[in-house]
Amino acid sequence: MKALCNRDGLLAALGMVSGVVPARSPKPILQNVKLVADAEEGSTLMATDLEVGIRFRVLGIKVDQPGSVILPTVRINQILRTSNDDELAIETEGDQLIVRGLRSEFILNLEDPDLFPEVADFGAQAYHSVNAADLRKLIRRTIFATDIESTRYALGGVLVELTDETITMVGTDGRRLARAIAPAEAENGAMSPTGSPVIPVKALKLIERNLDDGELKVHLAFQSGNSVLVRTERSVIYSKLVEGRFPRYQDVFPSGMDVKIPMEAGTLLQQVEAASIFTSEESRGVDFNFSAGTLTLKSQADVGKSRVELPIAYDGKDVEITFDPRYLSDALKTLDPMAHVTAELIDRKNAAVFRTDDQYTYVVMPLTRDR
């Protein structure tokens, strides 16, 4: 192989794929990335830890002789960072790999590129497509509610449901549940995936980093209930799915909510954070007292107490309920500060539901408190 690479382009690509490279692994080959230089198809940089894999299109590579090479992630990153050339030549010569700048030359051992595990490519003809910005929003609004430490494997990821018109993502850790819905389209007669596919958190973070806010479409395809492939503008991401059965989340949404209180996300977040200043590991709760015209937040810890008020458009009966403030702020942080949030309550023993105008639903279990 012989190619002239734009340093910034390669560095950007390496930054994107190196997150997948495992820090330690029983299979040393995985600590490398693989560069495939091809003038016609475009050059690709790939990395995998066998759980998640990514193929990322590298820009600014002029290919003299097509081919592929294994690049040691850490070293190549150092070479790219310390160099001040605009372009670096990468070529193989005998059993050596040579990276050459204007006034520098690095010689590395050449490894057989075929030893690198195959990183799956997006081959599906039938798939679902979603706006990049929407998918990104869905991931952000659900990923924080998962529990990767749980022995219930399915809670370590986000459930994805696809129909001809919508994509629904659900994350839960058993104490709270976030569901976000966005429009989707089935292309070429794509069927809804079988079973309940759960994408692990690690892969979701990677996907999110590869999405930008444009109107561009992202393609999703599930393979035989075992893995998912996501194609964005410049990358293809592969991930194994999580084992286990996702809880029947539909049963979690309470019914018979008679108290509905409209609020603004940014203001509520600010007051929740103010009220949570005096909370500790032992007394995590913040008491929410909804009364006509005012929401009063109170918290108490050994070191002091706080009381914050917030005017609300509400004139029904008083409701008192205690929440872990982190659970609320986790969700509120993902919303636009000006967004409308409606809190729906029954009483202080039942789950509370927060809804936005754009099909985001967040269910939180209240804390019990000795009074």
């Binding site: 066998l50 022995t151 494997y153 893995s227 999580v242 084992e243």
Partner: protein, 346 residues
């Protein structure tokens, strides 16, 4: 690779096959038996059976040539997870088990199941064992977990109760001798027979004893103990310790060598015991028998029993990671006290 190349464990294959055809194949197996009888090789072969792409799993008969079988053989199958104690550690730490749990939490990439092999299960520390319980009790559907250790007794009860314990017997001498030749550990049939006798059914032990420097040291050690002149226990201890430390930088290598030698001492005292009863011990080494005869003339059978027992105790302590220097010191001191006192008495 058919089962044929794994010797001496046909009964276990039959047992597992019966379980499989009746649909009662256990999801967690604990392989126990002496070091070096082929448990690891057996576990890999079993993994091939379970992951083979050609032959149905009910047959427990891997084809050995499909990509899955080859990948398992090379340790590269994506659905086979193998973990073991890190080389520089004495314990199998919790981080390894947590990673394993995580690996098992994802769907298999090729087939319908994952197979996990946990080697050095004897060295699971309590935290790691406890972190494993939940997964061991209820692994993802289809998964099979294989733990490899020497004895079920060193495991937590909670681990044992979650596994089907499979006992591996020591190999018999004929089988062991042919394995030794196959692996190139012994070059001649005579050498193989000698090592097979010494190996106590364990390929690992025979391999250790095939070391010529170790063999020479063993000879000196036994002759010194048996020599009519009295020996100095503390210089003997020093020699033994220095020689153990020469095995390598890692304490695990040093312990292995010490354990081999102490085991040989125990075997020697057993031979002495035979001699006190007027019998020739079935030892492959005539020099051993000569030395045993010399000692038998000087010692009471009761004391020989104690000596052999003391060696076994020291070997156990080596396994339990007590301070090596102390073990050797106190062993040599006790041996000296008994042998020299008895000799003086006569």
């Amino acid at each position: 690779m058919p089962w044929g190349s794994i010797r001496g464990h046909d009964k276990i294959v039959e047992l597992l096959r019966t379980g499989m055809t009746r649909g009662r194949f256990p999801h967690a197996l604990l392989f126990v038996g002496p070091e070096g009888v082929g448990k690891r090789t057996f576990a890999r072969r079993l993994a091939q059976c379970l992951l083979c792409e050609r032959n149905p799993e009910q047959d427990l008969n891997p084809c050995g040539i499909c990509p899955a079988c080859l990948q398992v053989g090379a340790g590269a199958h994506p659905d086979l997870v193998e973990v073991r104690r890190p080389d520089e550690k004495h314990e199998l730490p919790i981080a390894v088990i947590r990673d394993l749990n995580h690996d098992l939490s994802l769907k298999p990439s090729k087939g319908v199941r994952k197979v996990a092999i946990v080697d050095d299960a004897d060295d699971l520390n309590d935290e790691a064992a406890n972190a494993f319980l939940k997964t061991l009790e209820e692994p993802p559907p289809g998964s099979v977990l294989i733990l490899i250790g020497t004895s079920a007794e060193v495991q937590l009860d909670t681990i044992v109760s979650r596994c089907r314990v499979v006992r591996f017997d020591p190999l018999n001498e004929v089988e062991l001798a042919s394995v030794l030749i196959e692996h190139g550990i012994a070059s001649t049939p005579e050498e193989a027979r000698r090592l097979a006798k010494l190996g106590d059914g364990s390929v690992g032990r025979a391999r250790g004893l095939a070391d010529t420097t170790l063999n020479a040291f063993r000879r000196d050690l036994i002759d010194e103990l048996a020599s009519p002149q009295s020996f100095d226990p503390s210089s003997l201890a020093r020699k033994l310790e220095t020689f153990s430390k020469e095995a390598g930088k890692e304490s695990i290598d040093q312990r292995n060598r010490a354990s081999l030698l102490i085991g040989e001492l125990a075997r020697f005292f057993r031979a002495v015991l035979w001699q006190t009863a007027g019998l020739e011990a079935p030892s492959p080494d005539p020099a051993d028998n000569r030395a045993a005869r010399l000692l038998a003339e000087r010692l009471e059978p009761e004391d020989v029993m104690i000596l052999a027992d003391r060696c076994l105790q020291a070997d156990y302590q080596v396994g339990r990671k007590a301070n090596l220097g102390l073990i050797i010191d106190s062993l040599c001191h006790d041996l000296g006290a008994l042998i020299l006192a008895d000799s003086a008495h006569r």
